[in-house]
């Protein structure tokens, strides 16, 4: 039965936290109340990506793109849109800045995107296997089981030139091939869903929006390498993704797409979920395997590589969520199709979680080779609040900053490496002029020091010591010798750490040192923080010519540092002031300045 309207409600974690689940329920309830329950189908989908504007509701066939929807809007969507056929202008994206968009594709945010990984996100109900199947789901598995040999599958990936999306960009076909060729009766397939970069949620959204794509890909891999068991290692902090995976696995088993004798092919394969406790280092493949085995999540020296000796000492393929999600599309459309997207160095697309001081934060998927400028300014809509762009950090705590001069760098594995950053798993954090670059470096180093497993000395001790030296800089207590020591430690960490966490931990420090030497110098020599972020280096003062003595700031000051008579200029006792900045925010006369 065809419905008059399909209403797609975003069921991603971000929109759900803005009550999209209530919107979904209200829409069903309203449709019933208004007697049109048989005319509309309300579907809860995965992430639309445009998280800045969430919760998002899309109504088909008109393709009306409603943003920042509230649960109470459900009534109007049913009465106006469904019953009367009138689009609700006030809910449409961009209605208050320009005329409503005719097509979703015309929205600037989506214009330069290409959805391969996220092809089904925001399109299908992830908890309904039929919708996945209707969108070519499990077609790739069928092809792999009945039409392709093991080598055909691997060869297709070779033609596609798919490189691992977890950060390092190792060719996926080679990983599979090594594992296929490794000796052993028992082999394993592992999905790394231990996403943990600050601000990154690409993998979570993929699993929430299209869990079957990962299950299907892992099963194809099982066929290709001769494995019969897969594990998905996912952090327990992703309850929605876990739930959707569980539903998907149950449905796949019911349909004979997982378990014994899949689709009558004689091939047995099943998948289990393993929950991680949230240690960032467990995203490192050898630590992840340790954790699955029930050990403390600590990286192991390589060799041996997992392809030879992985889970329980057996040959193991381990890929990350985004890598997996690409694979069914490659098998269905062919490796050549995939290779036609992107650059020579890097094929296909890449998903980024665009966050920070940007107008349109959200999940974006672009062809490799798209420039950073296009992502930040076209898709991201530029810097929020009219501030000036300062830098963008890719590769999370392992990457580095990219400045204005490199904004036209095409995004691919090689180009990012050349400018001292890296692809990473896809976190992209935009900074504006208010951000202090030393503070940013410290933020990332705080993170890696916190997340260091503590196994190897260079990372455990080096990270902590390096961070302490950075701390000295932000406190105005550092000298040039400290910077020399920082470089010395950074080298020891890069060369001596056991895993990528420690090897790359100094990158944010080194890249900020490289691109913003003057800002470091200001902290070290002038004892000043140009962005006014480092509390030890700034002081607040009241300009007596501007202060009218309204007392507003004095009343707000949490520590009573401001004094003065009514209607007379006030002053700040810098000995007492904790530099929280409340006074500056409070003052309506711009009388308070920070230096």
């Amino acid at each position: 039965m065809a419905f008059k309207n399909y209403i797609l409600v975003c069921g991603g974690t971000a929109c759900e936290s803005s009550k999209s689940d209530q919107i979904y329920k209200n829409l069903i309830e309203e449709a019933k109340n208004q007697g049109v329950a048989d005319q509309v189908q309300v579907v809860k989908t995965g992430c639309f990506g445009f998280c800045e504007q969430g919760p998002i509701v899309k109504v088909l066939p008109e393709d009306s793109f409603y943003v920042q929807v509230k649960p109470e809007d459900a009534k109007e969507i049913i009465s106006e849109h469904v019953i009367k056929g009138r689009e609700i202008t006030r809910l449409q994206y961009g209605h208050h800045v320009r005329k409503a968009y005719e097509e979703v594709e015309d929205i600037q945010f989506y214009k330069k995107q290409k959805r391969v990984v996220l092809r089904n996100c925001g399109k299908i109900d992830p908890e309904n296997i039929d919708e996945y199947i209707a969108c070519d789901g499990y077609k790739a598995l069928e092809k792999a089981l009945f039409e392709m040999s093991e080598d055909d599958i691997i060869n297709e990936l070779k033609i596609a030139g798919l490189r691992g999306r977890g950060g390092a960009g190792f060719p996926t076909w080679m990983k599979w091939n090594f594992t296929k060729q490794a000796e052993g009766d028992v082999k394993y397939v592992v999905c790394n869903a231990d996403e943990g970069d600050p601000g990154a949620y690409m993998d979570r959204s993929t699993l929430e929006g299209d869990p079957h794509s990962v299950l299907e890909a892992m099963t194809i891999c099982g066929k290709a390498i001769g494995a019969h068991q897969g594990f998905i290692y996912i952090r327990a902090e992703y309850p929605l993704a876990i739930h959707r995976l569980e539903v998907a696995m149950k449905q796949a088993r019911e349909y004979g797409l997982l378990g014994k004798d899949i689709l009558g092919s004689g091939f047995d394969y099943d998948i289990e979920i393993r929950l991680g406790a949230g240690a960032f280092v467990c995203g490192e493949e050898t630590a992840l395997l340790q954790s699955i085995e029930g050990h403390r999540g600590m990286p192991q020296p390589r060799p041996p590589f997992p392809a030879v000796k992985g889970l329980w000492g057996k040959p193991t393929v381990i890929n990350n969520v985004e890598t997996w999600a690409n694979i069914p599309a490659i098998i269905v459309n062919g490796g050549a199709w995939f290779a036609s997207i992107g650059t020579e160095d890097s094929h296909g697309t890449k998903v980024f979680a665009l966050t920070g001081k940007i107008c349109n934060s959200g999940l974006v998927e672009v062809p490799m080779g798209t420039t950073l400028r296009e992502i930040v300014f076209d898709i991201g809509g530029g810097i929020a609040n009219g501030k000036k762009f300062k830098a963008v950090q890719t590769g999370g705590p392992s990457g580095g900053v990219i400045t204005e001069e490199n904004l036209d760098t095409p995004i691919d594995f090689g180009s990012l490496m050349k400018i001292g950053s890296m692809m990473g798993s896809g976190g992209m954090i935009v900074m504006d002029e208010d951000d202090c670059i030393v503070d940013v470096a410290k933020f990332y180093l705080d993170f890696t020091v916190d997340e260091s497993c503590g196994k190897c000395a260079p990372c455990r001790i080096g990270g902590k010591t390096l961070n302490a030296l950075l701390g000295k800089i932000t406190e105005g207590k550092a000298s040039d010798e400290d910077v020399a020591q920082m470089r010395q430690i950074a080298l020891a960490m890069q060369k001596g750490s056991l895993c990528a966490l420690g090897q790359t931990a100094p990158n944010p420090v080194l890249s900020t040192l490289k691109y913003f030497p003057e800002e470091y110098e200001a902290h070290i020599r002038d004892k000043k923080c140009p962005s006014g972020k480092c509390k030890r280096l700034i002081s607040y003062s009241i300009d007596p010519t501007k202060c009218i003595g309204c007392t507003a700031c004095a009343r707000k000051c949490p520590v009573g540092a401001i004094s003065g008579e009514l209607k007379k200029p006030h002053s700040i006792n810098t000995q007492v002031c904790i530099k929280c900045g409340v006074c500056k925010e409070t003052c309506k006369f711009s009388a308070i300045s920070v230096k």
Partner: protein, 580 residues
């Protein structure tokens, strides 16, 4: 298969599977390490063995990288030097510099590296934690304040010993080596084997020093101090004075102990001969009378702790014979005291052992006299220290003889210190007990060597006796499971006699032995004990005239009522976690 590579331009040929670290050593190039130990799997925590391949920026860890054909390895260059020096300095910034008061002063691997790299000051701000010492066992002291988190103790406890008493607790900078679940060590599964001590590169784990107890007794005119020393001590203590591992120093040891003021010098080897008489007879009896089989040896207190914790179902498989040390202590305070008319209350019984678990064993309620049969256990290391303190030039000491009548020993006794030795000694006598005739060749090669699990069948003139020998506690799991599972099914696993020693190589590599034990040292000490055996004219325990005499005069015959009272014990299940 041979692999060819160059290391710093030097052509090297090695066996396939050889690590770059080992290949470099063979080429005369030493790559520094702190976490690597040849007993253990490469762990990769210290970061010092970083190397490069020519033309590649990629760093590899020499400990974990197997050699490949055509490799061009660079082990030392300016950058690698910088990296290593920085890592040493960083490690030193979290390690106290109180070397002078450290038990491992002069035997510390970090100290050696600091010397080598000429580090004269600490460039990085020291960050030491509060010193909290865990001496809850009064045997093994954990001093995490000095720990450099190399992971050797954790690895040895978990992988070599299968005990899981030690673990890393906390993360990142707060990572610390600790008993499992952060319990005090005496509440953990620790079997007191002391392998953590001998594998620690610094002074973060050490034995409780009991030397003063012995010296107090020596200086007490009312005490008669009688001392015994285990077989393995004589082939290792020389290392503390610059002798080669394996050099037999029995006579020097006797002299040194007398110089320290000990009144009587006996030998645990006499106790070992006695143990064979009882244990072999027990085996024969079990086989003849349909008793519980297989019989397990019971002379290793680390193993006894382990079986009481992890396999309580198998306690009646353990030989009830006490260990040689406890037998020696028992006859010292009963038979010998009576014979000389000495009040056993006046005897202070000292045992010099290659083992820390022996310090634990003397707390067991198994005394034959009304006193502690053994009053104090000193490890080889502790004895080495006191010998130095008393200005005794051990290396050049004249030799002397053991005191009679509980000191003489046979070759069978002295091989108790190596894996397979107890089995071999038992076979030499059991053969006689069963068949009535002597074994032609006393050397039972099937139970010799470093294979982790050795199995064989000894033909007792038509009666096959199936034996197994295991060393390294973790290696016992498979056979113990097999024996237990069969037992729970009401069946019997296909063995008559199984020897188990907790430490790799046996007591010669015990937790109380000189620091620096690896397989090369084990081989030398083992060779020393086999040489000591060969030197003996009598190589079967039942041929020892002093043994024959003690049975005539006191014990009647093996397994007699008197023998049981004096020389046998029983076992009790232990909780794995003592606070449960």
């Amino acid at each position: 298969m041979k692999i060819h590579l160059t290391i710093n331009g030097i052509p090297v040929e090695v066996e396939a599977g050889t690590s770059v670290l080992e290949a470099a050593r063979q080429a005369g190039i030493r790559i520094p390490t702190l976490c690597y130990h040849p007993d253990l799997k490469p762990f990769g925590s210290c970061g010092l063995c970083v190397c490069k391949q020519e033309g590649s920026a990629k760093i590899l860890r020499a400990c974990a990288t197997p050699c490949a054909e055509g490799m061009k390895i660079i082990t030392h260059d300016a950058e690698l030097y910088e990296v290593r020096k920085t890592i040493i300095e960083l490690t030193m910034s979290t390690h106290p510099t109180s070397c002078l008061t450290c038990v491992r002063n002069n035997k510390c691997e970090l100290q050696k590296l600091a010397i080598e790299y000429g580090i004269r000051e600490q460039p990085f701000k020291p960050r030491l934690r509060e010193r909290v010492v865990d001496d809850s066992t009064h045997i093994i002291t954990l001093d995490p304040y000095k720990c450099i988190k190399c992971g050797r103790c954790v690895q040895v406890c978990q992988e070599l010993q299968g005990v899981y008493a030690l673990e890393f607790i906390g993360r990142g900078d707060s990572t610390s080596m600790s008993p499992a679940a952060n319990l005090p060590l005496n509440e953990s599964p620790c079997i007191k084997c002391g392998q953590c001590i001998t594998h620690c590169p610094v002074g973060a784990i050490y034995e409780q020093d009991d030397v003063s107890l012995m010296m107090k007794a020596i200086n007490d005119p009312n005490k008669i101090v009688a001392v015994q020393m285990a077989p393995s001590v004589r082939v290792a203590i020389g290392e503390e004075f610059g002798l080669e591992p394996g050099e037999i120093t029995t006579g020097k040891l006797y002299t040194a102990l007398r110089r320290l003021g000990v009144d009587y010098v006996f030998d645990t080897n006499f106790g070992a001969d006695l143990t064979i008489m009882e244990e072999a007879s027990e085996l024969v009896e079990r086989i003849k009378d349909g008793g519980v089989l297989p019989q397990f040896t019971s002379c290793c207190p680390g193993w006894v702790n382990y079986v009481e914790e992890y396999y309580p179902e198998l306690l009646d498989n353990l030989s009830s014979a006490k260990s040689p040390m406890m037998m020696q202590g028992a006859v010292t305070k009963t038979y010998w005291a009576e014979k000389l008319g000495i009040d056993p209350a006046k005897i202070y019984s000292v045992a010099i052992m290659p083992c820390t678990a022996k310090k634990d064993e003397i707390r067991r309620p198994m005394n034959a006299s009304d006193y502690k049969d053994v009053d104090v256990v000193l490890t080889t290391r502790e004895l080495g220290r006191i010998i130095s303190q008393y200005g005794i030039d051990f290396k050049n000491l004249e030799e002397s003889e053991v005191d009679s009548p509980i000191g003489e020993y046979t070759g069978a006794a002295t091989i108790f210190g190596v894996t397979g030795g107890v089995m071999e000694a038992a076979v030499r006598s059991a053969y006689k007990f069963v068949t009535g005739s002597e074994l032609d060749n006393v050397e039972v090669n099937a139970v010799r060597g470093m294979d982790e699990v050795k199995k064989g069948t000894v033909d007792f003139k038509g009666t096959p006796v199936r034996v197994a020998v295991i060393h390294g506690m973790a290696n016992a799991k498979e056979i113990l499971d097999e024996v237990r599972d069969a037992k729970l099914r009401g069946e019997r696993a296909p063995y008559e006699f199984i020897e188990i020693m907790a430490c790799r190589g046996g007591c010669i590599a015990g937790g109380g032995q000189p620091i620096g034990t690896d397989d090369e040292v084990r081989a030398k000490r083992t060779k020393g004990l086999y040489a000591d055996d060969e030197k003996c004219t009598l190589r079967r325990s039942h041929e020892n005239p002093s043994i024959i005499k003690i049975y005539d005069e006191y014990l009647e015959k093996p397994l007699s009522h008197k023998a049981h009272e004096t020389l046998h014990t029983s076992y009790k299940a232990q909780k794995v976690y003592k606070d449960e």
